[in-house]
Symmetry: C2
Subunit: 406 residues, 2 copies
């Protein structure tokens, strides 16, 4: 896929790099403007890198002012020339300081009314600085609206995510060739990371939640059932108490589940999969639990449609786990979701979770991950990224989802 | 180096993992308590992962309450058992919710006075939540004090950083074996990353500043002089507009500087180096600029002592660049520093920068990086991590700093 921003010089030397098309940016901005008008706000000021990239096509050090009506203004501190190349917006100016930004905003807006900031990610001290800079405007949290807009992916974004699927699938197909008994988790992970990195993987995905980090979950046996601070079913020992998540120095043995749960991040977009490998067969208990996870996945594919309530599918999965006598193992201790949105960040909306009402919509991209965690033994199950269309879930990858026994 | 926390079960299977010793934690906490007493605050509440690890030895999902007098209380949401293993603090309790945390804090503190939060990193919405939870206590920013405490490293921390130097130096020594004409920057970077990753590199270093990211700067020729949003002399093309920093798909050619500027992160600690490589000789202009950078480094080593003002060394470097006719190339356009602190984060205090008065102290660890940026051609120069002792700067690595011509 080569998508260029017409009239803009392409400086990257591979043919996978894509500039976000102007029409795409305008559609996104109009959706936010619709929200601003409904909420009676006069503008939003976007600064966080994923949001900034989404609405402007660049994540240089910049502030994007989106008025409720009219043209957005991108104010770039560093690097202005690159922002000009990367962004298809029309009004792009260079600024030196917060004073410049304040002046430009004051020149664009009325002296009263509300202005939206991303209060879920903006550090408190920056919030105080913006508050002072924007006085007497009232600051309103616009992060909920931004996250709801970003939740619905365009065909362009789904194409971006398919590129990501392609690179990630190649990695999964190489696992059987690289996995050897006696190697450490970190060695297997490193070698898998290399495969995707040379193809343009930018590294660990961006996360919106404070303090969260998402290293590859390449975990074996008991470590795949070792919980961590991460809000997910698996954690892993990690490399040290300073980084207590993901692969560690445990050696990979026979007859234990080897969980591979990570993905490339290409052109900003991430997908999410899990597949289970094993050197020699696993116990019947683990195999049956894996099969239950696959049944849950099949039922998701049959039943999830636009208009349905996300909560019902969490309940459905819990009921199926219960019938299989596995409810205490479902998703691990204290984890009450079975799916999540993703895109430019790993932790996007919606969440398919306990007691969480959400109307599913066409254009949502979901990672659904029914898993069963057996402390001391390991985790089995599956994760795939789906796009929800009018006719139902479309699985983006073509990977076999059974346990791969080597 | 094997440092264990007596009486605590070791679950990691390599012998490099270290638990922060209790005495080390107590000394750090006492320094913060000294600040709280002086400032008339009754406590600090620590939540950010690097700070939490520094003061408690764990970065599970937890809140650490440090009262101005008496024993700290670690309240752990997820994972409690791991926090018990990792932290050498005595009072560690499990909590389920913010309500639990609020109750525990209310039970520990007087109903009035100030409480310190990390307002430089805490998202605004979390700040509002804590404000409500802590009412009627007054919330005060304690991040400045925390950063000043963390700025002075203990002998234990310097040992940790030396482990990091060891792994990083092995990687630098392999560059001549891996570097080939015609390979892409991202391929060279990937292969170098693999070497450190299998030895326990946790990935890109943590950064404190909002929106900043630090992928490896493995950059060649003009890309090594291509600025980005990153607050440093080099940027790099990156992989796409969504990730416009670090190595890209440019192929590495002959007679251009190849800059390698990255480091392992081991047991939470990062160091920072830059070395220049080249396939075939570089122009006299670039070689002379590199030699000027080395002269600046030698003068730093001769003259930086505890008690001196950091600003003077920025000025000294600028003057030396000017005498060499290189002032417009020094550190690249719009970048006005030549050194920075580092440890658990890459962007620690102090900063050696223009007009920035700071008294240098024994125990500081500094990355000093005199560099010259030639747009369209490349960047040359050097970066090393030093510890400042009573007798002056001690360079932590033993790497040759001349341009390595292959």
């Amino acid at each position: 896929m080569v998508i260029t921003n017409q009239g803009v010089r392409i400086v990257f030397e591979n043919n996978q790099t894509c500039y976000t098309p102007q029409e795409e940016l305008f559609t996104r901005i109009e959706r936010l403007q619709g929200h601003l008008l409904t909420a009676g706000m006069q503008a939003a000021l976007i600064v966080q890198n994923a949001d900034l990239f989404y609405f402007s096509g660049t994540c240089q050090d910049a502030h994007l002012l989106i008025p409720a009506r009219g043209e957005p203004l991108l104010m770039v501190r560093k690097n202005y020339e690159r922002a000009l190349e990367e962004s298809a917006l029309d009004k792009i100016i260079a600024v030196q300081s917060y004073k410049d930004i304040g002046r430009s905003i004051a020149g664009s807006l009325k002296n009263r009314g509300g202005i939206g900031l991303e209060l879920d990610v903006l550090p408190a001290n920056l919030f105080f600085r913006y508050k002072k800079m924007l006085e007497p405007l009232e600051i309103i949290d616009v992060s909920g609206a931004i996250r709801e807009i970003r939740m619905i992916k365009s065909p362009y974004e789904i194409e971006c995510m398919k590129e990501c699927i392609r690179v990630t699938s190649e990695m999964y197909n190489e696992v059987p060739n690289l996995l050897k008994e006696g190697m450490t988790e970190i060695e297997l992970s490193s070698r898998l990371e290399l495969l995707m990195r040379v193809k343009g993987n930018q590294g660990n995905p961006r996360l919106r939640a404070f303090n969260q980090e998402a290293p590859p979950h390449v975990l074996s046996g008991r470590n795949s059932a070792y919980p961590s601070f991460f809000d997910g079913p698996t954690g892993g020992a990690g490399l040290s108490p300073a980084f207590p998540q993901g692969p560690g120095f445990k050696t990979i043995g026979r007859n234990e589940p080897i969980l591979v749960d990570f993905s490339a991040v290409i052109n900003g977009y991430v997908v999410d999969h899990t597949r289970i490998f094993s050197i020699g067969p696993l116990s019947d208990k683990l195999v049956e639990a894996h099969n239950t996870a696959l049944e849950i996945k099949r039922r998701f594919i049959q039943e999830i449609k636009p208009g349905a309530n996300g909560k019902d599918f969490y309940d459905m999965a819990v009921n199926m786990a219960e019938k299989a006598g596995l409810s205490s193992h479902f998703m691990g201790s204290g984890v009450h979701f079975v799916g999540h949105g993703l895109g430019l960040e790993l932790d996007e909306l919606p969440v398919i979770a306990k007691n969480h009402h959400v109307t599913l919509q066409s254009g949502m991209v979901l990672a659904l991950e029914p898993k069963f965690v057996f402390p001391g033994e390991g985790t089995v199950g599956v994760e795939d990224t789906f796009v929800l269309t009018e006719s139902g879930l479309e699985q983006l990858n073509m990977l076999d989802d059974s346990i791969k026994i080597l």
